[in-house]
Amino acid sequence: MKYGGYTGKFLTVDLGTGAIGSQPVSDELAEKYVGGRGFVAKLLYDMLPRGIDPLGPENVIVFATGPATGTMIPTASRIAIGVKSPLTGTISASYMGGHFGPELKYAGWDGIIVTGVSEKPVALVVDDDKARLVDAGSLWGKDALESQQALQRQLGDEFRVGAIGPGGENGVRYGTFMHQQHNAGRGGSGSVFGSKKLKAVAVRGTGGISVAAPAAEYIAACKELHDIIMENPVRPAFRWPGTNGMLPNVNEAIGLPYRNYQDDKVPDVGPIHHEVLDTYVTSREACSGCNVICGAVVEFEREGRSYRSERIDHESMWALGPNCGIVDLMAVLEANYLCDTLGIDTMTTGSAISWAMEMTEKGLLTKDDTDGLDFTFGNADVLRPAILKISAREGFGDTLALGSRGAARKLGKGEEYAMQVKGLDMAAYSPRAFTGMGISYATTGRGADHNKAFTVAAEFLGVLGDYDRYSLDGKAELVKRMQDSTVMIDSLIMCMFTVDLGISVELYARCASLPTGMNITADDLYAIGERVSTVERLFNVEEGFTRADDFLPRRLAVEPAPSDPGAHTLDMGDVLDDYYAAREWDADGVPTAALRERLGV
């Protein structure tokens, strides 16, 4: 490996044979795919046979850091975990912050490739250049936090640890992998761990990572980047309320989905307003290399149970709260903690519950179907028992463990109330109010993801332009451009929030060039984004996904939000044609031969 910022090798672990080895990262892989999401796309595309069962032995788990990870580039703490998703059947990478990614780099690895299935529960312990599989029978069944703490006691404070909870062990379709209280898991990577009997991973890295530039020059360049964030006027909003600051603003804009997307405004967000949440904060917390500091620790009680937890984020608050018609802060905080520690994705869980609530409202489900649980909108008391049943796949929980679409298909009714694309549920920004988010949900490879082109920045926050948020004009091109630039953020890997904190595309190119010594321009960055987006698309096309899968739930086109005096709806109309044209995909959404040749895929 001639570039800085890389260790130049992946750790390989075959759980079937117990074989541990290494695989080089070639210069070409680094040049064309950068790291993180790019590595996940290329490796899974090449390694996975088509049509496999995501929870079967052939699936592969790819942990991938990027060249900026752990190198002092601001916010570059994140690690991607890629699998073929058991929730969507698409290629899927999910991300977590904390300290795990940098530690893996310091241990000498750009990533880990896990294949095969273990007979017995195991944990992978990576201690610098040595790795071993250890028995994890005593951890199996424990929640993700207890498991981390048990391993931490065994191995010592210096290790960075992550684990799955019962959700992943039991094959909930949206299980997560949790490190500290950072979760990688939209799309269900944790359930792939469970299917392989891989309970936990611990890493200690006492070595270092070298960068291309001389130290003094590199420190000065990084300080400039940190100062840009530090001095950005938006930073205080992230630093104190965290992402929760979005909630009242998006609600006021009539863009916050309520009661399973039946409306876009919560009558009263007062009880879950960040100013109320702030009163439970007892300390603050950041990921490695970050000066944004959106994290905090909260302590609270509900019905005699005491909790100490990472502060909830905006999306989880929305999914478990307003989208279920709930504004009971203690109930939502408890639900968030339970999802995290039991190892299931908060957003997908919230959406499965909100689907069951609408099914109940419409008379399509009764208490006889739900083990007696009352799935009435606004019933905060149903969150805890529903989450316990989902993670255990017990009774009606086994149905909800399939996600909203899977549950509807299992029961043979109510798919029109599953607010999802490709099986992944939509997020806390209504496409009726932010049309770019609609195109993004419809076209993103892993389903209705809000973070692969966060057009709200351009449609509402005024950060990346000043688009009319209700119009479709220029949105196909905006989504395409943002999806491509986001690939670089997900590949370096930096935090999405930097988009809103003064880090321009030119500066991302700088963040890629500084540690590596490559001379990456903004144009190169877009080309890499196109390449990775195209490989992800090819994976999905070869898995049988077609234009018909790039849809939005019908509700958005025919039911305006009752609270919206403008009665806006979003009918995608011909915009998909514009989007495919911008992407150089044919009318069926298949990347053209000319594009593949230009991108070298």
Binding site: G70, D157, T206, G208, A215, R284, A286, I293, S309
Partner: protein, 136 residues
């Protein structure tokens, strides 16, 4: 006497201090080899932050423990200096004081020299958890 003060309640575990320290002293980002180490007590979920850096009280246990002259008290600067050519990697200094660290790659003993009076870790701390203590 100058020293670096740590305010645990303000520390947010960003590791920027140990990152920049290692980059400056070792030429690579290697928090485990930095003169300053922050860590979290993992006994409690999201538990308290701990910091380990020479407190400059200069009991100088490390100097006393060194059987060679690899660690030497620099009276003018008020810091302990390390000379690798004298070091036999015996580990006595590490046993003598928890605020002495070692770079696992090159086996250098890492002990804070206050960056010649302008500590980078203090400059980089985004929350004021590290401050410049003592007389200026």
């Amino acid at each position: 006497m100058n020293y670096i003060e740590f305010h645990a309640e303000k520390c947010i575990a960003c590791d920027l201090c140990s990152g920049v320290c290692s980059l400056n002293k070792l030429g690579r980002v290697q928090p485990a080899g930095a003169c300053i180490r922050v860590s979290r007590d993992t006994g409690t979920h999201l538990g308290p932050m701990l910091c380990s850096v020479c407190d400059m009280t200069h009991e100088r246990a490390c100097v006393d423990a060194c059987p060679q002259e690899a660690l030497v008290w620099d009276e003018d600067a008020g810091v302990v200096r390390f000379f690798q050519e004298e070091c036999t990697d015996c580990g006595s200094c590490l046993d003598a004081c928890p605020n002495v660290h070692q770079d696992a790659v090159d086996r250098r003993i890492m002990i804070c020299d206050l960056c010649d009076g302008d500590p980078l870790c203090v400059k980089w701390c985004p929350e004021g958890a590290l401050t410049w203590g003592g007389a200026s």
